[in-house]
């Protein structure tokens, strides 16, 4: 049976077939007010407030439009492949006690989200659950949990709320990735930090044909690519409901080739590759309007968020250990002739 919009009784995909996206309550919904009450007045007041407002839905958080876009892709996939279980499956994760969770369920219903799986851990870590149920991507506002998830091999990122949210497409899912330490490992960045920019260029040119090692979000790009191929097979290449972007500070003139060749060798296609040669990412992202953007450097995450893009930090690699030094990305500007 095909799930109709508004229907909550569509067949549930099995975890091994579906693409599981776990989102925490604080990124799916705006719970700032409640968070403040918890921090300033303590647990009792927080619970009291939540229960008193149980029937009042939360307003959307930064992950909301991303989840809506996932559902739009599902609808289009079901039209083309009614029997397939290869769909996005969104799971809500919260640290809250189950009591408080009732307000979350009411909110899901109010916004007509197709979320049928959730995990209310009552204060325990959700990592065991994420591992047990084949989670493909985990988004949270808590960097500690994100770090833990990455450590267990789960693609994860800390999501921030932009100052303002630019309007995004309701029918085409757009996902933007940084390259080094997100799709790729941080091996090249390590060269720069250890030996400087010139050595980095030399190194990348010399190893142009050697693929980079994979980074924490390679797997997620891979599953997006798999779904894209399903649309292509039905003639929807030009207006595919999923579009992917590489937004990297590498330069097309020098270090970009290795990135593209690596992707090609992995059998992964990316729709648009933008080599910024160190220019800020905010403006280009504002034009692209992705539902979500992943970067390993807070500098870029903040820059993107300032201009209205929902940006997520992937706390992976050398940039986390040497945060004060500018990464190679910014130094490249001075070397461009």
């Amino acid at each position: 049976t095909v799930g109709r919009p508004g229907s909550t009784l569509g067949p549930r995909p099995k975890p091994e077939n579906s693409i599981t996206i776990a989102v925490s309550s604080r990124v799916l919904f705006n719970m700032e007010k409640e968070q403040q009450i918890f921090e300033q007045q303590g647990m009792e007041e927080y619970i009291k407030y939540q229960v008193e407002h149980e029937t009042e839905p939360f307003s959307p958080g930064p992950a909301f439009s991303f989840v809506k876009a996932l559902e739009a892709v599902n609808t289009q996939l079901r039209d083309l492949y009614p029997e397939s279980e290869e769909l996005f499956d969104v799971v809500l994760i919260t640290n809250n006690h189950a009591y408080v969770g009732l307000r979350l369920i009411n909110t899901i219903n109010h916004h007509q989200l197709f979320i049928e799986r959730f995990c209310m851990t009552g204060g325990n870590s959700p990592i065991g659950y994420l591992k047990a149920y084949n989670t493909n991507l985990y988004l949270s506002s808590d960097p500690v949990k994100v770090h833990e998830a990455l450590g267990e091999g789960i693609a994860a990122a800390t999501m921030f709320t932009p100052d303002k949210m630019t309007e995004v497409s309701e029918t085409q899912l757009r996902v933007a990735f940084d390259g080094d330490a997100v799709l790729f490992s941080d091996e090249s960045e390590q060269i720069y930090k250890a030996h400087g920019l010139d050595k980095f260029f030399e190194h990348e040119k010399a190893h142009e044909n050697k693929p980079l090692d994979h980074g924490p979000l390679k797997g997620f790009l891979e599953v997006l690519g798999k779904l894209q191929k399903k649309f292509y097979a039905k003639g929807q290449r030009m207006d595919c409901p999923i579009r992917t972007y590489l937004v990297t500070a590498r330069s097309a003139a020098s270090s970009g080739a290795r990135a593209l060749k690596t992707l090609r060798l992995w059998g992964l296609e990316i729709d648009e590759a933008l080599f910024l040669a160190g220019a800020p990412k905010g403006p280009i992202l504002e034009k692209i309007r992705p539902h979500i953007f992943f970067d390993d450097q807070m500098f870029h995450v903040e820059g993107a968020a300032e201009m209205g893009t929902v940006a997520c930090h992937v706390p992976y690699g050398i940039a986390q250990r040497v945060p004060e030094k500018k990464g190679l990305k910014d130094k490249e500007v001075s070397s461009i002739k």
Partner: protein, 261 residues
């Protein structure tokens, strides 16, 4: 003929307010293994006995004159066991188990003893015994080798909802009612502790039903005074993985009148 013997090593609990939990001989002890001194080795129920004791200790910490404590009785369900009464009493004392009294009954009359002793939860390793008890209105749970590896610092009660299980044709209104009153008692005990660091934890796992059936379960438990700590709505995913993470001491199932194996 049933005989009941008090364990003089253990302070007796308040008859009216204690929550009586009966555990069978075969669950408490590893019946096959006796050491030279005629003392039975401990069986799969050990972590559960320890955790019930832990809850009692924490209750008394909160209120030194607390009367609503767990009262554990050891019950035999076979004639052969009934005849080993002195070994059983010795072994219990030897291991220092917090068993309040012993109920020496046989397969013919153990059900009667459960009623007679006002048992609110019956724990056994035998599926038939559990079924019989449930049918007679005593909430039961099945213990197995997994029970042996449960934590002993927090009592984990998992309520499993599975919309595809049809209510047992034999399950009576009475058994459902008694299961609910048992839950209510547990809920009262839970209320005596705060949100964090509680020695008792309630979890709901909804297997096949959607979030709305989980939602109504949360609400009906709330109306029984049961504050649920954790809830997992699996949306059709298998429950094995989450159960091995949760490590429940016992599972209560759909309508709380059926067994979990």
């Amino acid at each position: 003929m049933v005989s009941t013997v008090q364990n003089s090593d253990v302070k007796q609990k308040d008859e009216d307010q204690a929550v009586v939990v009966a555990v069978t001989f075969a669950a408490v002890f590893d019946a096959e293994a006796e050491d030279d001194r005629d003392v039975y080795r401990l069986g799969v129920a050990l972590p559960l006995l320890q955790v019930l004791q832990r809850v009692n200790e924490r209750l008394l910490e909160e209120n030194p004159v607390e009367h609503q404590l767990f009262d554990i009785i050891l019950i035999t369900t076979e004639t052969r066991q009934q005849q080993q009464s002195s070994s059983i009493i010795n072994s219990t004392r030897h291991h220092g188990l917090e068993v309040g009294r012993f109920c020496f009954s046989s397969e013919d009359d153990f059900i009667e003893s459960l009623a007679h002793n006002n048992v609110q939860l019956f724990l056994t390793t035998d599926g038939n015994e559990a079924l019989q008890a449930t049918q007679q209105g005593v909430p039961s749970a099945l213990l197995d080798k997994n029970s042996a590896s449960c934590p002993s610092d927090q009592l984990r009660v998992v309520l499993c909802q599975d919309a595809t299980i049809q209510p047992n044709a034999d399950s009576s209104g009475a058994s459902k009612k008694s299961a609910q009153s048992f839950l209510t008692l547990l809920g009262q005990i839970r209320q005596k502790f705060g949100m964090f660091n509680s020695p008792l934890c309630f979890t709901i796992v909804t297997s096949c039903g959607g979030k709305d059936s989980c939602c109504s379960a949360l609400k009906s438990l709330r109306s029984l005074g049961v504050s649920v700590d954790e809830a997992y709505c699996l949306g059709g995913a298998p429950r094995g993985p989450i159960l091995s993470i949760l490590r429940p001491h016992f599972l209560l199932s759909d309508g709380f009148s059926q067994l979990e194996g």
